[in-house]
């Protein structure tokens, strides 16, 4: 419940404040959002599996975001930023799909 409220509050804050994305954050924000989405779906799946742990969730969330941004940053420095971003998005997308599939099996038995 608190998590759902948090999501709603975050969305409303974003809609109300409409902050400008700082220049240095622009390449990393989309990747970070996708990584965070992956962490959230992973957490939901773990909760349904009965192995949810808030400490683990926090760590996984932060590390997901940081590592995704780091990969993109490194890619930019190496000159393959666009390709690495695509790779990261593909990998995270696959993980999100598999997590959602597991959640779906839990809830709908299908």
């Amino acid at each position: 419940m608190i998590a759902a409220i948090g999501l709603v509050v975050g969305i409303i804050l974003g809609l109300l404040l409409t902050p400008d994305v700082p220049q240095w954050l622009e390449p990393y924000l989309p990747i970070a959002v996708v990584a965070a989405l992956d962490a959230v779906f992973g957490a939901l799946r773990a909760f349904l599996d009965g192995i949810f742990n808030d400490k683990v969730f926090v760590i996984s969330f932060v590390s997901n975001v940081v590592i995704a941004a780091l990969i993109v940053f490194l890619g930019d420095k190496l000159g393959v930023g666009a390709q690495l971003s695509t790779g990261v998005v593909v990998v995270l997308g696959i993980r999100i799909f598999s997590n959602v599939a597991a959640i779906r099996r839990h809830i709908f038995h299908a």
């Binding site: 419940m1 998590a3 948090g6 974003g14 989405l37 969730f57 666009a82 997590n99 809830i107």
Partner: protein
């Protein structure tokens, strides 16, 4: 990364995926929604952060900065593409402008030719009597109370007018006099091109009014002859003489244009 995200993906026919299990899962979710535990707090903060970031990203993506997030290599590539496209467009513009100038040249030539042809056709039509004409000229009124004005008198008058530069001649608002016009004698008058014309004769002439008027007044000329026949000639110089009768254009049956002209 961590144990829960890296949990092995369950096969599709995993054993615990039974209807009872699904019910239990749903119950667990509902319970978590109803009775939040303290452990959800950190999760809530992070999920809120996610929502905030998502909305921010979506908003910034909707702004018109398509190229803001691109890397310099991408931008260089884009710029090259745009340059090539601009060159192509320039070339196309040059081609099209050339085509346009060609077309407008030819159309101008055609218009000039058309204008010349129209003018010539009008000129020839006036001379041949196939179109109505108007312009400065004179109106000659010839009275013939004793019926003594002859066809020859009239023919002399017409010849004098032609010699003085008459461009269009009309008798009694009825007959146009052109090169092929025939004159015949008749009872009380004359027959011109099959039209019977009798005194008083009214001759409309387009040409230089002064020249036309003076040419009739020579001694031994038209006026002299008519007055000798007890008739009278009145000449009015007019700024605008209208000649509305026309002749039917006749195409020659025997003559054709000779080469070399």
């Amino acid at each position: 990364m961590n144990d829960m995200n890296d949990a092995p993906q369950a096969p599709l026919d995993e054993p615990h995926a039974t209807p009872g299990h699904a019910r239990r899962s749903r119950a667990k979710l509902l319970e978590a929604l109803r009775k939040p535990s303290r452990g959800q707090l950190a999760g809530a903060v992070l999920v809120g952060l996610l929502g905030f970031a998502m909305v921010t990203q979506v908003k910034s993506n909707q702004q018109d900065d398509t190229y803001a997030g691109l890397r310099s290599s991408d931008l260089v590539q884009l710029l090259n593409g745009l340059n090539a496209e601009a060159r192509r467009a320039d070339k196309e513009i040059a081609d099209l402008e050339q085509t346009r100038s060609q077309l407008s040249d030819s159309s101008q030539r055609r218009q000039a030719a058309l204008k010349r042809a129209t003018e010539e056709s009008t000129t020839l039509g006036i001379l041949a009597g196939t179109v109505p004409a108007q312009g400065p000229g004179i109106r000659i009124e010839v009275t013939d109370p004793k019926d003594k004005v002859t066809l020859n008198n009239l023919l002399d008058g017409v010849e004098e007018l032609r010699a003085a530069g008459a461009e269009a001649i009309e008798f009694n608002d009825d007959v146009r006099v052109v090169a092929q016009t025939s004159f015949e004698d008749a009872e009380r008058g004359v027959v011109i091109d099959g039209h019977r014309v009798s005194a008083p004769y009214v001759i409309d002439v387009i040409g230089n009014p002064d020249t036309l008027a003076t040419t009739l007044d020579f001694i031994g000329g038209f006026s002299f002859d008519v007055k000798a026949s007890d008739g009278d000639v009145k000449v009015n110089k007019l700024d605008n003489v209208k000649i509305t009768t026309v002749t039917k254009p006749a195409s020659p049956d025997f003559a054709s244009s000779a080469d070399g002209q």
